[in-house]
Subunit: 194 residues, 2 copies
């Protein structure tokens, strides 16, 4: 009684992000690859700092994301890779709706977590098949920052090398270069617009 599966829940997120002038050209290439682009969704991410350590220094992140009625909490560990944005990620669903989101924010604040900023974006997603997985491609319009393409795979530790190669290859095929390693949050804070 009381024994629970203590399996390591933490997975790795391998991600590259590219500022682009024109999302239309990327959409066309994705279409040629047979990828379907989903409907636009508005995502609002509220980022928190820790009561006893500075996430900007430790390179961690904790956020509550609201996508319509869907609320999720996400922890991201420090980046472990200089090129891609590889990091541990733990994402958990919260209760649905505005009241649940407000309750969770209240709980985090009561525990001493402080709001850093909010990132607002319009996002459309596509999936590009690669072997038995699919890379998640996000076409983002970020308020105050402009348009970006993000490529992402979430994998177990043993698949990290494959995932990095896979993301790099897809970036080439889409004509994406000059990746941006800073997060949207960091870019907004550096711009002074958050």
């Amino acid at each position: 009684m009381g024994a629970i599966a203590e399996k390591p829940a933490m997975k790795y997120e391998v991600e590259q992000k590219f500022p682009v002038d024109n999302l239309r050209a990327i959409e066309e290439r994705l279409g040629e690859m047979g990828a379907e682009i989903g409907n636009e969704r508005i995502e609002v991410d509220r980022y928190y700092n820790h009561p006893a350590r500075d996430f900007a220094e430790t390179d961690e992140a904790l956020r509550i994301r609201r996508t319509g009625p869907i609320n999720r909490i996400t922890y991201k560990g420090p980046r472990v890779d200089k090129v891609t944005k590889t990091r541990q990620e733990l994402e958990l669903p919260l209760g649905e709706g505005a009241t649940a989101a407000a309750d969770w924010m209240k709980l985090l604040e009561t525990l001493g977590f402080r709001t850093v900023s909010e990132v607002h974006k319009r996002r459309r997603k596509a999936r590009v098949a690669r072997q038995d997985r699919s890379v998640e491609v996000s076409l983002d319009e970020v308020t105050g920052l402009g348009t970006f393409v993000e490529l992402e795979l979430v994998v177990e530790e043993e698949d990290l090398d494959w995932a990095r190669e896979c993301i790099a290859d897809l970036a080439d095929e889409l004509g994406l270069a000059q990746s941006e390693r800073r997060s949207y949050l960091r870019l907004l804070l550096e711009k002074g617009g958050a």
Copy 2:
């Protein structure tokens, strides 16, 4: 866009707990009052300490409660009353099942929350109507501590006085005296059995 209801989610829990030798006598009195006693459930509460403050000193509590597949997180603020155990409470549902519980424990640990102890109990619940509310009566067998009756109301701030009176009256009617103000966690830690 992005605006959410920032209504204060925090309610107050007014509670009194009584060690009893014999739960059977209480059950009979509850039956005479017309209260129905629910099935036994096993509750496992894992308590955490904060990464930067000592909840034993600040008189706060944070726990994950597992009742079968149901998982909940609960924050309790400092007691604000010397007789009853009146305190702010914020309780939020988590995802269901053992994996979700393990994921939440992993998240709390990653954020620097440390496990203090677990409290295991068999609990049966009854409800006793009082005006337009009902008092929650819990008949508890706590591993390592014995048997207890808990009386609880969760109310808004303006109903605190009424709730305290209501709990005291019901305790009288049930023949309960000599309340125990310490939590099960505290009792277990003091006993050295946690």
